[in-house]
């Protein structure tokens, strides 16, 4: 499935979601950094 983009409008128009174009996908970032800390996976308690 293609990456998608959602737009919320401040003027009250309904929100929209659409597939991103190839050009938009090409502008998505790669991870900047990895935060390595102890293995303590959170749980939804």
């Amino acid at each position: 499935m293609k990456a998608q983009i959602t737009t919320h409008y401040a003027d009250g128009r309904p929100s929209e979601t659409r597939d991103m174009t190839d050009e938009e996908i090409a502008l998505l970032p790669e991870p900047l950094t990895t935060v390595e800390v102890e293995d303590e996976t959170p749980s939804p308690d």
């Binding site: 990456a3 998608q4 983009i5 959602t6 737009t7 919320h8 409008y9 401040a10 003027d11 929100s15 979601t17 991103m20 938009e24 996908i25 502008l27 998505l28 970032p29 790669e30 991870p31 900047l32 950094t33 990895t34 935060v35 390595e36 800390v37 102890e38 293995d39 303590e40 996976t41 959170p42 749980s43 939804p44």
Partner: protein, 186 residues
């Protein structure tokens, strides 16, 4: 300025309403890989507070921002940012860049945590709809697989007025969360 009287049954006067310091101008959920808030910055306010909470990501990644005109993001290498970061295991998690196509919010996770709330961040955005540089101060706290905090700032270096903001994450990652945008009364 006196504190407005918000007692039950009192008529709220224009003067009382005008003294309210923060006014919500937009809200919505973070979703997809990128989320636009179009038209939220206007000449009615100079500065804004953005509160993002109950964030989760579908996999490891960061949340970034770009400034918008309509629904079109500014993608030139005009963003700069610097963040101090620290974790509970005493690892540094600093970020900085001196000219790139987007700016960090300081928020990141290092493991896939789909559906689990992992943090929040706030941003104060200065002058986005004014033809000047847009400055951001913000603070992010995340619980990826430990605790990670970042505090710092970012800017968009063009002296241009814009009217919206986009939040985006990495390729193949999707976001969830709540966004509320408030204008500071001038």
């Amino acid at each position: 300025m006196p504190v407005p009287d918000f007692s039950p049954g009192e008529v709220l006067t224009a003067a009382a309403m005008d003294s309210i310091g923060l006014w919500k101008v937009a809200e919505g959920t973070l979703s997809s890989t990128a989320t636009n808030f179009a038209g939220c910055f206007t000449s009615d306010y100079s500065n804004y507070r953005i509160v993002v909470d109950q964030i989760s990501l579908s996999a490891s990644g960061e949340i970034f921002w770009r400034i918008l005109t309509g629904t079109t993001p500014e993608t030139g290498n005009n963003y700069r940012f610097a963040y101090l970061g620290y974790t509970t295991s005493a690892a540094t998690a600093n970020l900085n860049n001196n000219g790139t196509s987007l700016a960090a919010t300081g928020f990141s996770t290092s493991v896939g945590v789909d559906g689990i709330i992992v943090g929040s961040f706030t941003m104060d955005v200065f002058g986005p709809a004014i033809a000047q540089r847009t400055f951001v101060q913000n603070h992010a706290m995340a619980f990826p697989n430990g605790n990670a905090m970042r505090i710092g700032g970012s800017l968009h270096n063009l002296t241009t007025a814009y009217d919206g903001i986009q939040f985006l994450t990495n390729t193949a990652v999707t976001m969830a969360g709540n966004v509320k945008i408030y204008g500071y009364r001038k």
